[in-house]
Symmetry: C2
C-alpha cells in the first residue's frame, strides 16, 4: 500500500455544495487545537451563538451548531420534536423532502405527504387542505430551498399555515441560509437546520440549528426520551449553555477546529453584511442566467421560484451530460453538479454559493461550458455567454 | 457584539482528549476543499480504508470513518445491530458503559447490566453468569478502555465469551486505539468504534468504525429499518463503496477537510509503525508514573489494568483539585482532566495520547505539577519528579 500525504487538486466548486472555502476560513481551521472545555473555547462558543443568531435572523436561545453534517441537523429536528405515534405533514418536492419522510417514519411517527412536482414550489392550497383534513398533526416539515431542484418555497406562508393549525414548523434551510433571506423570527419558524458547506462557505461537517421557545417547550415536555442520545437537545443544551446558567457539562467532544472555521466564516458574513450577501448571490445568478440564455440554455425552474444560489440547467437534447461535467473538471478544475433522483441525467446543477458566488467564477464557468459544448457539437445558440454575463455584472 | 477572528491560545493537551495535533495534520486539515464525489477524493477514501484496516488490525470490509464524533460512532453500532425488543448485555464500569445503556434503551431494546466498580476491569465471571442466565441476548457491549477511569478490560476474553454464547461483541475503543493493542480480527470483535481526538491525535469530530462479516449479516438481515437515517450503514456503505462495486452514491456530504486530517494522522501512524506507537505510549506512562511516585502521588487503577495513555491520579487529601488544574492551564498552558461522574473531585486524569505522549510533555507536566502542589502546600513527598521520569526515559 502506498502511503503518502494527500494533496488535493485545486478546484473551483460550482456544484450544489460544498462551495469554495476562503483562505481565512482554512487558516482558522488549521489553528492549534485547545480543549473543548477550555475557558477560551467557551468564550468563542458564546460569540458563535451571537453570530448564528445573525445568520438565522433570530433571537432564539436554543441556537447552536450540531456536531455533524446537515443530515444530522435534519434528524435532530425530528427526533427531538416528534414522538412515536405523532402525525407530521411533510411537503415533498424533491430529494430532501423525501429524506424528511424517512426521518418521520424512523422516529416512529406517521408522515402525511403533500406532494408537488420536482421543480415546483410547495402548493399552499394543498398544504392547507392537508392541515384541515388532518387535525392534530404535530408539525409541518418542508424544505425552503430544495437543493435537488433549485426551487424556493414560500416559507413565511407555510409557517403561518402551520401555526394557524397549531402545528410546529420544521424548515430545511441548508441551501438557502445566507444566500437568500431566511428570517426565522419574522416568519415564525419553530425549528430550522442548515449546513456549513453551502452559502456559509465553510467546511462540511457541521449543522447550525435553531429552535423557537415553542419548540423548546415541546422538547422539554416530551413523554418519551429522544431516540438519539447523540442528538438529544436536552443534553446538548447543557454543553452549549443554552438551557440558561453559565455551567458547561460534558456531552460529547465538540469538533473544535471545524468550529474555529465556522466562527471565521460567520465573522466574514458579519463583515460583508447579510443583506449584501443576499444581493451578491442575486447579482451572480442574474449574470449566470444571462450567459446561459446567450447559449440558448434554459433554467428548469420558473423564474419567480428560482433559487439564485442553485441553478438547475436543462441538458440540451443529445448531449452527454456526464461527459460535460467530466470535461469541466478535467480541463478547468471546475466542479458542477449532476441531477439527483428523478432529475439524474436531465439537468446540471450550477451552484453560486458563498465564496463561489463571484464574478470571476461565473465568467470562467460560462466560458468553459461554452467551449466544451461547442467542442462536443452540442445544439446551442451562438451567443456570447461571457459578454452577456459581464453586461449584468457591470450593471 | 465584538466580531473578530478567534486566535486560540497555545496549549499542551494532557487531558483525556483531545490530544495535541501535529502541525502536519493541521496543515492537511487546512488544504483547499474539493468535492465529496471528486475522483481524487474517492481515491483518498480508498486509501483511508486501508489505513483504518491497519489501525484496527482488521480486514473487515465495512470499515470507515463515521462523519461525527465517537458518541455517534457508539450510536451507529447500537442502532444498526440492535432491533427493538432485543436484549443486550452491557458491561458497566464507568461513564461510557452507562452511555451504552442509554443507547440500548433508546434503540428500543432491553439492557442487562453487568456492573463493576469504577476503577475495576470488567469481571469475566459475572459476564459469563449473565450470559448463562440470559440465553438469546443479541450482543455484549463493553468499553475496552474506560476514559472515565483509565481501566483496560480483557477484550479478547469478553469477545470470546460473547461468541461462545452466540452474541455479537460491541466494543468501545475510543481511548485505546493505537495507544495500546486493539486487535479486532485476532480477538474476534464484531463491532468497534473509536474517536480521532485521542491516540490518533487528529482533530475531533470523526469516529472510525469497523464491523465483522457476522455484524454485516445482522445489519443486512434486519426486520426493521435502522432508526437513524444519518447513521444507517446500509446507506453509508453505498458512499464508501463498502458494499462492493465501485460506484459511490450520495448519502450525506462527507466532512472533507477533517478526512484530509485523519488521512494524514493515519499516514503518520504507518510511518511510526503501530507497535512502536504502543511502545511509546507504554514508555511515557512508565516515566509519568515514576515521576508521580516520586511526589508520593498514586494512580487509582491497579497496575495490571492500567491504561498507559490515561492516568487517573488520586488527588491528595486537602488539595483543591480544580485550583491545581486552573493553575496548570494559567501558568503553563497545560490542560489536564477532571474526574467524571462518580470520580468528580477525587482524581485528575492525565492523558498521554498520540502526539501528547512524548518526553518533553511528560517532563514539563511533572515539573509544573510539582511546582504548583508545593506552592499550594500540598502534602506531597519531597522526591525529584523530573529526575525519576528521566531515569525511565533514558532506560
Amino acid at each position: 500500500m502506498t502511503v503518502s500525504s494527500f494533496h488535493p487538486p485545486q478546484r473551483i466548486l460550482m456544484g450544489p455544495g460544498p462551495s469554495d472555502v476562503h483562505p481565512r476560513v482554512l487558516q482558522a481551521l488549521g489553528r492549534p487545537i485547545i480543549g473543548h472545555l477550555d475557558p477560551e473555547f467557551v468564550m468563542m462558543m458564546d460569540e458563535m451563538k451571537g453570530l448564528l443568531h445573525y445568520a438565522f435572523q433570530t433571537t432564539n436561545q436554543l441556537t447552536l451548531p450540531v456536531s455533524a453534517p446537515g443530515s444530522a441537523g435534519m434528524e435532530a429536528c425530528f427526533v427531538n420534536l416528534i414522538e412515536p405515534g405523532d402525525s407530521v405533514i411533510v411537503c415533498v418536492n424533491g430529494v430532501f423532502g423525501m429524506r424528511m419522510v424517512e426521518n418521520v417514519e424512523r422516529s416512529g411517527a406517521t408522515p402525511i405527504t403533500v406532494e408537488d412536482d420536482w421543480g415546483k414550489p410547495i402548493d399552499l392550497n394543498k398544504l392547507e387542505d392537508a392541515l384541515k383534513a388532518n387535525p392534530g398533526v404535530k408539525a409541518v416539515a418542508f424544505v425552503h430551498a430544495e437543493t435537488s431542484t433549485g426551487v424556493q418555497s414560500d416559507a413565511a406562508a407555510i409557517a403561518k399555515l402551520a401555526r394557524d393549525h397549531d402545528a410546529l414548523s420544521i424548515m430545511d434551510c441548508v441551501t438557502s441560509l445566507v444566500g437568500t433571506p431566511v428570517l426565522i423570527d419574522e416568519w415564525g419558524i419553530d425549528a430550522a437546520y442548515s449546513g456549513t458547506q453551502k452559502c456559509l462557505s465553510c467546511v462540511p461537517g457541521i449543522s447550525p440549528i435553531t429552535f423557537s421557545e415553542r419548540a423548546v417547550e415541546r422538547i422539554r415536555g416530551r413523554n418519551s426520551k429522544v431516540q438519539s442520545w447523540f442528538l438529544d437537545m436536552n443534553l446538548i443544551m447543557g454543553y452549549w449553555g443554552a438551557g440558561g446558567g453559565g455551567a458547561r457539562s460534558y456531552h460529547h467532544t465538540a469538533p473544535i477546529n471545524s468550529l474555529y472555521a465556522l466562527h471565521e466564516s460567520l465573522v466574514m458574513l458579519k463583515e460583508e453584511g447579510i443583506e449584501n450577501s443576499w444581493k451578491r448571490h442575486k447579482l451572480m445568478h442574474n449574470a449566470l442566467k444571462a450567459g446561459l440564455e446567450a447559449l440558448g440554455l434554459s433554467l428548469m425552474v420558473e423564474e419567480k421560484y428560482r433559487l439564485p444560489q442553485l441553478n438547475t440547467v436543462t441538458v440540451p437534447e443529445g448531449v452527454d451530460e456526464a461527459e460535460v461535467r467530466r470535461r469541466m473538471l478535467a480541463d478547468y478544475g471546475i466542479e458542477i453538479g449532476a441531477g439527483l433522483g428523478a432529475l439524474a441525467g436531465k439537468v446540471w446543477r450550477i451552484g453560486l454559493m458563498g465564496q463561489s458566488s463571484n464574478a470571476s467564477h461565473v465568467t470562467l464557468s460560462l466560458a468553459a461550458l461554452e467551449g466544451i459544448l461547442k467542442d462536443l457539437n452540442a445544439p446551442i445558440a451562438n451567443g456570447d455567454a461571457c459578454g452577456a454575463a459581464q453586461k449584468v455584472l457591470l450593471g
